[in-house]
Subunit: 462 residues, 2 copies
């Protein structure tokens, strides 16, 4: 059934560009592209699946002629609505462009197309004794193009940084159809404006990335992982700041509160200590065993001095996997506990982490709603997750109040409305509270200059 | 003597904004602001020295009303003409804005004004057992605002990255006078377009940075420094690639060719091995002594296996300082050897480093000109420095050919025209060769959107 609101003439032109089998217009197909990881639904008029940069360029030129929106999309795992066709038009599905084109073991780089699954990049690097460090929770299903569009963070960001820190060079199609390139396959480049960083995190509003050169690093040879139990989450938050203030640089430093812990255990039966007020998971890694051991021992000491009731080291890879499995299923577990889950992404300066945790608890209590908190504590990045039911109108009103209070709390503590999930349309109303209207105006000037007809992913934060 | 070509009315309005004593119009004063580290001269019409963001905003609004150029300037140590008033107008001297406003030992950040000398930031961090890693050669005289404008690199970039990697948050004045802010004082932030990275490296063409929040890291506790001697620079270049391919991450990895080595020795009398074809200087650092020792030993082994005729470790801090002193005076020594020195900044992928060194030697030989080569070899970043005399017209023609050939060689080898010195007006003609005209067009769209009257630092690369 073809129920697209695009004209037959436009659909036929799209088919002539990408081939008729790569223009999807049935309800069944379009519904699959109607939401992201946050699940708000907007049906696109059609889904178009290009094979290369040239096809994308021709689609952009057509969109400018005919004035329909184009919304680039990778794995659809975003959590802020960045890849959802909230203003209609076509979803540009980039998953056919999924080739790893080159790996250079001397220069430590890899060249990929945007539709490559992030985990495939990590696996290819590891085969060659290298690491691609960014590690979003969705790594097994997200695409690298989506990671670039949202500047994905993840579990290893404290030591290794986020997606932006690994981008050497991007090729892209401008909203008006031109091919452009920025950056170089070198470790340094100051050749004009940094369009690589401008594209990264721009959520597909300024161009469609068609090729990405990623920097890789030597694979750490040694790892020490540990779990510390705490009586309450606020004390755990203090312990995290103490770890960082001690000059330690853990590869990963995560927090899980009691509510989330119990939900994970109910879901995955991992034998977790469900009576603990909170867990802190830490991992140190590096190229020299003695150094990793030393960091691990110092970490252990700081955790105990900060009030941990116990610290357990993973004795082997299996135990290590269990620790990280617990963290990785947190969102899935919470999502299944109630019909609707709303995942927040507030981030504060490290010394304010414990305050923020206390505020989250108070906001949940005062509004009478369930909030599970976990996150990348070493980055000050928390994911308070509200469990609710969107059919319960009364509760949803209180949820709305709570979300707004969470954001205000993060900003009051000197933080940001989004550490790693982006703004999309979900968080767009909150962005001016953080950056101010004059910064939004500067962003809009750039958007208008790059996309005069507002074709590319309209209706998002800008 | 007032010889400004700005009208008395404009000069009087400027004086009413910043105070008459902070508007300089005498030839003596203006000459001091007429050049940068590369020494091409353009006399500004006046020098204006604002005290704060509000004054800068009012200056920008006046410049838009009266249509005169505004060229922001810090220490004037740039090497590509980024802070020179090549189209006339006023130089906006930011060195009065030189306060360190805050250091946060829990969140590991420092908040500074743009006119703070980079070395003062490093010193303040070290006092608190922290490190601000970017380390441009001009660290003792350059300002942090200039470092941001050029995205300065320096000696520690291979392991620690460049200026951009340490920017948490910027406040700035738009070319049209608005105050705007981007980034957050958190370890992650994806709140809209990354205006922090867009401003970084934009050479004062998109806004005037008025406040900078810098990320700091724990100060490494241990260091191992060494010097390796090689029969020729090309072999030394191979050794550098081998170090990186061995999975080592030196804090610093520098190369000095024989010509530069002899020039340094003539200048500084450090007792250097002037018969060596080239030196490689390496330093490993870290938080654990055993790990640093292990990296140093592996580095030593790789250097010897790669053909070093000898490797000497620095036995103490004094020996270590001597090694780095040799590298730090390279440019000063070369600059004094002949009336004119032209410093290049070509950067190639690491496996091409040895090829690039061989090409530099051939280009010097074939054009009959003297080129000393040194640079941040671990980043693939070389500074071939042409020694000449600008009054020798015939030689200058050959120099021009050689510069163009150097740039083509870097691009042919997959590199960039500028690793860390920026484009300014000196390298503007070469930029399209690297990024293509469509990327330049995208940059120009952004410039026009932010600066419709082309007031801010006109005539530079964009």
């Amino acid at each position: 059934m073809n129920s697209s609101s695009l004209s037959p003439s436009i659909l036929s032109k799209l088919a002539s560009i990408v081939g008729a089998e790569f223009v999807l217009t049935s309800n069944e197909d379009r519904i699959c592209y109607a939401y992201d990881g946050q699940r708000v639904e907007y049906l696109p008029d059609a889904v178009v699946r290009p094979a290369d940069a040239e096809e994308i360029s021709r689609i952009m030129i057509l969109a400018n002629d005919e004035h329909f929106p184009v919304v680039p999309r990778g794995g659809g795992t975003g959590l802020s609505g960045g890849s959802v066709a909230s203003s209609g038009g076509i979803v540009l599905d980039l998953t056919r462009m999924n080739r790893i084109k080159e790996i250079d073991l001397g220069n430590l780089h890899m060249v990929v197309e945007p539709g490559v699954i992030t985990a495939a990049i990590v696996a290819e690097a590891e085969k060659n004794n290298l690491l691609y460090p960014p590690d979003p929770g969705s790594v097994k299903v997200s695409t690298i193009g989506g990671n670039v569009a949202e500047n994905a963070g993840g579990l290893r960001a404290g030591k290794y940084g986020v997606t932006r820190n690994y981008l050497m060079q991007l090729s892209a199609i401008a909203p008006t159809g031109e091919h452009f390139r920025s950056g170089a396959r070198t470790r340094k480049c100051v050749a004009g404006y940094d369009l690589v960083s401008l594209m990264c995190g721009s959520e597909g509003t300024l161009g469609v990335v068609t090729e990405i050169a990623l920097r890789l690093v030597p694979l750490p040879k040694f790892r020490r992982s540990m779990v510390a139990t705490f009586a309450d989450a606020s004390t755990a938050g203090c312990a995290v700041s103490n770890i960082m203030a001690a000059g330690l640089i853990p590869a990963t430093l995560e927090i899980i509160d009691n509510f989330t812990l119990r939900t994970i255990e109910d879901y995955a039966h991992l034998g977790l200590p469900v009576d603990a007020g909170a867990l802190v998971l830490a991992e140190f890694d590096g190229l020299a065993e003695s150094a990793v051991d030393e960091e691990g021992e110092t970490g252990n000491r700081v955790l105990l001095e900060s009030g941990a009731s116990g610290v357990e080291f993973a004795k082997d890879a299996a135990e290590r996997d269990k620790i990280w499995q617990a963290r990785r299923v947190a969102l899935a577990a919470l999502s299944r506990a109630k019909p609707t889950s709303i995942l927040e992404d507030v981030t504060v300066p490290l010394p304010k982490l414990s305050d923020m945790i206390a505020r989250v608890e108070r906001i949940g209590r005062e509004n009478g709603i369930a909030i599970g908190t976990f996150g990348h504590a070493g980055d000050g990045n928390l994911h308070p997750t509200i469990l609710t039911n969107e059919r319960d109108e009364d509760e949803m009103k209180r949820v709305e109040v709570a979300v707004s209070q969470l954001i205000d709390a993060a900003l009051e503590l000197g933080g940001t409305v989004s550490g790693e999930h982006g703004i999309g349309f979900c968080k767009a109303p909150f962005l001016p509270r953080e950056v101010g209207v004059e910064s939004i105006e500067v962003m809009q000037r750039i958007k208008r200059a790059m996309d005069p007809n507002n074709i590319l992913n309209p209706g998002k934060f800008v």
